[in-house]
């Protein structure tokens, strides 16, 4: 690396682009060593000033990130006239909780939630188990052509859904599954290669010796899976499970292809048709109430499991 240049760098670089700054405990060490020199003092105070500036910028950004969501919630509590008020009201007056009452009868919101729950739960619970069993075989068992099979599954990730959706639709149409939840559920039951990939990675850290020992004790492979592997990979599985659940919950393209009858649609489709239906009547409070209800479950799951989710995502990208 060519960092040996003797030119001094620009002294007043933007604090945001200060990679050194991210090193915890660095400047305190420095200032401790030569605490009497004014240069050291200015270094720590410059760092603090930088922090202040960065916090300010990040706060502005946070307002931009949350603004539209807060606006959605605010709109959902307004009267029909209040949405056109100028200047805009951030705090609705009067507060129309009634929008959250009439939204349930304005469209098939409840059946939408039920359908989304059925699809997401069935797919992720069964799919996670099949993925975990397959990951166990890929990571810890001997089999000819194992790597070729794994690479084939991985290569499948490169194939975009739009490329295969037309024949897939025709097949499901042939067996009469269109306008049912089955085309959304059944393919997912066979497992998820992304999950297999990460569980396999995770299992590489589990020593072979404990499996060998269990084999010598006469345990079957299924027993080994349940008693040794499953408890070991449970944390990794939980994170992948949540991510997958949210992905299925938020899915839109496959549902829009397969589901026509309003009562059979998933939540995402229901709110989209709320949007199409009530926008012409400019009933935005109702649309926003429905959208907010659709956002809420995932938001709650995220806030509860945010540490696991964020760690899992950070790990995922790093390995990729």
């Amino acid at each position: 690396m060519s960092t040996s240049t003797s030119l001094p760098g620009p002294a007043a670089a933007a604090p945001l682009l200060d990679p050194q700054a991210g090193l915890p405990g660095r400047s305190p060490v420095r200032s401790g060593r030569r605490s009497n020199t004014p240069a050291a003092l200015s270094r720590t105070s410059r760092y603090k000033l930088g922090n202040l500036l960065v916090t300010l910028i990040l706060s502005l950004g946070a307002i931009v990130m949350l603004g539209p969501l807060v606006w959605t919630f605010s709109t959902s509590l307004k009267t029909h006239d209040a949405i056109f008020a100028l200047p805009p009201q951030w705090i609705p007056d009067p507060v129309m909780w009634d929008n959250y009452v009439r939204v349930w009868s304005a469209g098939p919101l409840l059946s939408g939630i039920r359908n989304s729950l059925i699809v997401a739960t069935t797919v992720t619970v069964i799919g996670s188990l099949t993925s975990a069993v397959a990951a166990f075989a890929f990571a810890k068992m001997k089999m000819p052509f194992k790597n070729a099979a794994f690479l084939m599954l991985l290569a499948g990730l490169m194939i975009p859904f739009p490329t295969i959706m037309i024949p897939q639709f025709m097949v499901f149409a042939e067996i009469g599954w269109v306008d049912t939840l089955l085309p959304l559920i059944v393919p997912g039951l066979f497992g998820n290669i992304i999950m297999i990939f990460f569980l396999k990675q995770y299992l590489e850290n589990v020593p072979d010796s404990i499996i060998e020992a269990a084999k010598l004790d006469g345990a079957s492979y299924l027993q080994i899976f349940w008693r040794l592997i499953f408890p070991a990979i449970r944390p990794a599985m939980a994170a992948q499970f949540i991510l997958w659940f949210m992905a299925v919950w938020n899915d839109y393209l496959a549902p829009i292809i397969y589901l026509n009858t309003p009562e059979k649609q998933t939540l995402q489709l229901v709110i989209a048709s709320f949007n199409a239906q009530y926008a012409s009547q400019t009933d935005y409070p109702l649309i926003m109430a429905a959208s907010f209800i659709a956002l809420l479950p995932v938001l709650i799951v995220f806030i509860i499991f945010q540490r696991q989710i964020i760690e899992s995502v950070a790990l995922t990208g790093g390995k990729g």
Partner: protein, 304 residues
């Protein structure tokens, strides 16, 4: 080979065969799923792309007709161009998320809070996000124009103007994806060994030089991953278009390629033509992935 030496061999190989069988059984489920729901439809798509097919009668072979039609179809070309155009949001998003990650990598209060806040749009349903941004982009009463109004700017009717509909979609996509790339960059930044900066600092390298020569190369794998996944994801943009501009936008200026495929296949029942376009999309994604992998390999040499 004498049997005395390897007395235990038959037993061992029987055990091995048993292990092979069980392993095959365990991986059979995803393999069958792959064959049924990915490989078979893929091959059928390739076949259907050479046919005239309305989904009701059997596909009729018509050679390269669909592919020739494509290059003369102004809507297809427009949709391709729109999809490509909207990808200029990718570098913008990467630069912004890198800056955010550098900020969050500092030793200060509140970083966990900010990390969570920036991640909220990522986990939110894109359908709901599209709906609320459609409202935010409303020309008269939308949030965006009201904020612009504070600065004395008269905002356009974003989604109804052919010049602003694509930027509007780009802004929204950047807003939604920022937290994800920020998080990956942050994880990468935290794993850069500290001594590299110390050595560089001793050598007199300034902040910018350290960023250019240490940080950037060290996080390059993440940049690579994000570029590849963003291009793959971006080339399949559909939901926002379907919800915010259901008819492809003013003068077809927001129609994406997947939106056009979907419309041709399921509204106009041009299944053969749509299959051909979906094959082109698949090939484009494949080529981009391969090129990126090759570039990445070359870059890795230069880091070493």
């Amino acid at each position: 080979m004498s049997t005395e030496v390897l007395r235990s061999k038959p037993r061992r190989s029987r055990l091995h065969r048993r292990e092979h069988q069980v392993a095959l059984l365990f991986i059979a489920i995803p393999l069958i799923g792959f064959l049924l729901f990915t490989l078979y439809p893929l091959l059928y798509s390739v076949y259907a792309s050479f046919t005239s097919w309305n989904g009701l009668a059997a596909p009729k072979f018509n050679g390269l007709d669909n592919y020739i039609k494509m290059w003369n179809d102004p809507y297809f070309l427009k949709a391709m161009w729109n999809t490509l155009f909207m990808m200029i949001g990718i570098p913008i998003g990467l630069v912004l998320s890198m800056a955010l990650a550098l900020g969050l990598n500092r030793k200060m209060r509140g970083t966990t809070f900010f990390r969570t806040v920036y991640y909220v749009p990522v986990i939110s349903s894109i359908a709901a996000i599209a709906i609320l941004w459609q409202w935010a982009y409303n020309g008269d009463f939308g949030l965006v124009n009201q904020v612009l109004d504070l600065f004395g700017i008269q905002g356009p009717n974003w989604l109804a103007d052919k010049d602003t509909v694509k930027p509007a979609l780009i802004i929204m996509a950047t807003w939604k994806g920022l937290g994800y790339s920020m998080l990956l960059y942050l994880a990468a930044l935290q794993s850069v060994p500290r001594y590299l900066y110390e050595a560089a600092s001793l050598d007199g390298a300034g902040t910018w030089q350290q960023f250019r020569n240490i940080t950037m190369p060290m996080v390059r794998p993440v940049t690579f991953f994000l570029v590849v996944t963003s291009i793959i994801g971006g080339s399949q943009i559909f939901i926002e278009i379907n919800i915010m501009t259901p008819l492809g936008g003013p003068e077809f200026s927001s129609a994406s390629i997947v939106w056009y495929i979907w419309r041709q296949a399921f509204n106009n029942l041009h299944m053969g033509y749509a299959s051909a376009m979906s094959i082109v999309l698949g090939l484009v994604i494949f080529v981009i992935t391969v090129i990126q992998f090759r570039l990445n390999r070359r870059n890795q040499f230069s880091i070493d």
